[in-house]
């Protein structure tokens, strides 16, 4: 019986539905009180950029969808190496995100019963 879920966000925002859908899934688990964490990795780290402006393409904001997770104590991790390889400085990220080295990924896996990828 799964008591915790790790949600991987691997896709960038606004071109695809995936990242938003993953954040919503994380929220649905968090609302129910399930231990849930979100991990932004690969192109998913583009969701962490503070200056994103969803209204430019009339989409719901992935930044707001991420921040809603904080209300339910769902931590959101961002892989540092994936930020670095995309030339994104940590100063460009919005508040509340936890930047972690890729070596933390195995720990997160061990701490959650199931994983889903977006």
């Amino acid at each position: 019986m799964a008591n915790s879920t790790l949600v991987l966000i691997t896709k960038a925002p606004y071109g695809l539905e995936e990242a938003f859908a993953g954040l919503r899934l994380g929220l649905a688990m968090g609302v129910n009180g399930m231990k849930t964490s979100v991990l932004m990795m690969d192109d998913g780290v583009y969701n962490a950029i503070a200056s994103q402006k969803a209204e430019a393409v009339k989409m719901p904001s992935n930044m707001e969808a991420t921040k809603e997770l904080y209300d339910f104590e769902v931590p959101v991790y961002v892989v540092k190496e994936d930020l670095d390889s995309r030339g994104i400085d940590e100063s460009k990220l919005f508040e509340g995100l936890k930047v972690v080295p890729a070596s933390k990924v195995k720990e997160l896996l061990a701490e959650h019963d199931v994983v889903t990828t977006f």
Binding site: M1, N3, E17, R24, L25, M29, V114, T116
Partner: protein, 119 residues
């Protein structure tokens, strides 16, 4: 108590063979005595539309309906369903138009394994 598998699929019925793979996996797990739940999310919800007629391609709607008859609980995301213009009543028999918060949460919390079939 048999172990439980939840399969979350997110690819549309005609986009790829993903939904068919999800069904095959569900049936193979069922045949081995596991309990199986399935949840369609995003584009995946198109697979439960009744009346699909893909001519010579596999009919995933029919396959899914048969799988439900065999005992696989199947639900989909209503928000995703409505977004694509589908209404309640247009789904195959036995598929539940539900939600992440109620149905997927229940499936996951009762599961030993979660498999995601998506691209």
């Amino acid at each position: 108590m048999p172990k439980t598998l939840t399969i979350l699929w997110r690819t549309g019925s005609m986009m790829a063979m993903d939904a068919n793979v999800a069904v095959k996996l569900a049936r193979a797990a069922l045949a081995k005595g596991y309990k199986v739940d399935m949840f369609g999310y995003g584009e995946g919800v198109t697979a439960v539309k009744k009346g699909q007629n893909p001519k010579r391609f596999p009919n995933v709607g029919n396959e899914l309906e048969e799988t439900i008859k065999q005992g696989v609980s199947t639900a989909i995301c209503e928000t995703c369903y409505a977004a694509r213009g589908f209404e309640r009543g247009e789904e195959i028999a036995g598929a539940k138009v539900g939600s992440l918060t109620n149905d997927l949460f229940k499936f996951i919390s009762e599961s030993d394994r979660l498999v995601t079939i998506a691209r």
